[in-house]
Symmetry: C2
Subunit: 277 residues, 2 copies
């Protein structure tokens, strides 16, 4: 299946944050009308809503609810905050259950006031603390390694090797990894680490976008597929060679694109997906 | 020597770009007056000057000329540009020789129009092309791995492991590595890779600064030692455990600090160096 051009949208998922100006109801309607088949829901879009009914609405649009974004942010030098994070992750698991999705993506967190090693231990402790709730709810947790430029405050897990190490250490069918090309494209060990999580049956999610040159903002300047230097087709071939046949999730944070007409942006996403993903 | 507090400035080197508003003559005078003993010269500061006389001036201020910054930028999808880069690196070697320094730091380069693997091969080819000139001039070349956030255009070498791999592949006493905490602090393999280049007698330079949270600019928002989350004392202990006894080079690009009074900034550098490096 590797390197084959994409001719249909049956595996295209879009994150609600990608079209942030749209409320979730609007996103669902527009995604469905364009033929998109999957949606990943960011928690902020659920504010003030009946979560179960929102899930029903998405399914009524024939959208698979691929995952809930996001849990995590476990580390803190402050014990009270660590407990609050664990409580919030339990809440996220309950939200995922109500929404009707079987996956939560974890942006694991980091606290610059302590060592990366301490943050990693707290991540592992936090995931293990919520495992009973995750398994009871039938919700899997995907550790998403984040780009090293986020190691200070967003994640102390910055390579797929580290995510695989932690997955293996926790050793639960409910814990795996999310591969996001934006975070990992530069890693010389990426192919072998994708194989490794594939062999562990731990490759739970695949996120795509592109890396623009120049990138003018560390958080909100991601590119559309084809706009940048990420070898998307190559990485997808590695992911799919493991047997992964899940959705390809478009996750783009972009101040520039959020300012544009979102219907036109959605068409650009579909074009970029077909031609470059 | 590890973890011992720094009580004197005998190993403090400052890069000319750190106090960019100062011309090199002004930097030399002020560094010397403050007791700084080393200077690393950025090539732009030599524009329009007699390079040999500038070297004499620095030595007259009792400053060791630790290195010349920077060579590199070898990769390009365009063969003409690759040859131009090799020519420019030969020019840099000649400049280092005239200045009277025995080290050039290489920011190796990358071209987003081609794969990272192709860029790496062109880096190795470029270094090997200039080795005869380097050895004839008595100038060593330090491969500086750059943070993965610069993998698109600045360097296809983004971990110390990759720099060590290339150093070992080239296998010349004239080629080693520069360890810069800003680029490498997040790397879980950093301690072992520092040991590895130490064992190869290839640890040629050690650059310090800090990583601020938040970092608001990908290039020009580096922090003073102590302002951020980099475990500076720990990394220095690893570097010095290899037997490295060279300068600790303060390399800070900061729009914020460049706008301040540079004499006051210099005192902050010295305070940060003594208390946090």
């Amino acid at each position: 299946m590797s390197h084959e051009p994409i001719t249909d949208l049956s595996k295209l998922c879009i994150h609600t944050i990608t079209t942030k100006p749209w409320a979730i109801e609007e996103a669902a309607k527009n995604f469905a009308a364009a033929g998109v088949k999957g949606i990943t829901v960011w928690r902020d879009t659920l504010a003030g809503r009946d979560i179960k009914k929102t899930g029903d609405l998405l399914r009524a649009h024939d959208l698979s609810i691929v995952s809930l974004c996001r849990g995590g942010f476990f580390p803190s030098i402050d014990k009270t905050k660590r407990q609050a994070a664990i409580d919030d992750n339990r809440k996220a698991i309950e939200e995922a259950h109500q929404l009707g999705t079987q996956l939560i993506v974890l942006v694991c967190g980091a606290d610059p006031a302590q060592s990366l090693e301490d943050s990693r231990q707290q991540i592992q402790d936090g995931i293990e603390a919520v495992l009973p709730e995750a398994s009871a709810a039938g919700v899997r947790l995907a550790i998403e390694p984040l780009h090293p430029m986020y190691a200070d405050t967003r994640s102390a897990i910055n390579t797929l090797a580290q995510a695989n190490d932690m997955t293996e250490a926790i050793n639960s069918p409910w814990v795996g990894v999310a591969v996001d090309v934006y975070h990992l494209w530069w890693d010389p060990n990426l192919e072998q680490e994708i194989k490794r999580c594939g062999n562990n049956e731990a490759l739970f999610a695949f996120h795509i976008c592109d890396w623009k040159s120049p990138t003018v903002d560390m958080l909100n300047d991601r590119g559309l597929m084809g706009e940048g230097c990420i070898p998307l087709k190559k990485i997808r071939s590695w992911v799919e060679a493991t047997g992964f046949d899940g959705f390809r999730e478009v996750e783009i944070f972009s101040t520039e694109y959020w300012q544009q007409d979102q219907s036109q942006f959605l068409q650009k996403i579909i074009t970029g997906y077909k031609n470059h993903a």
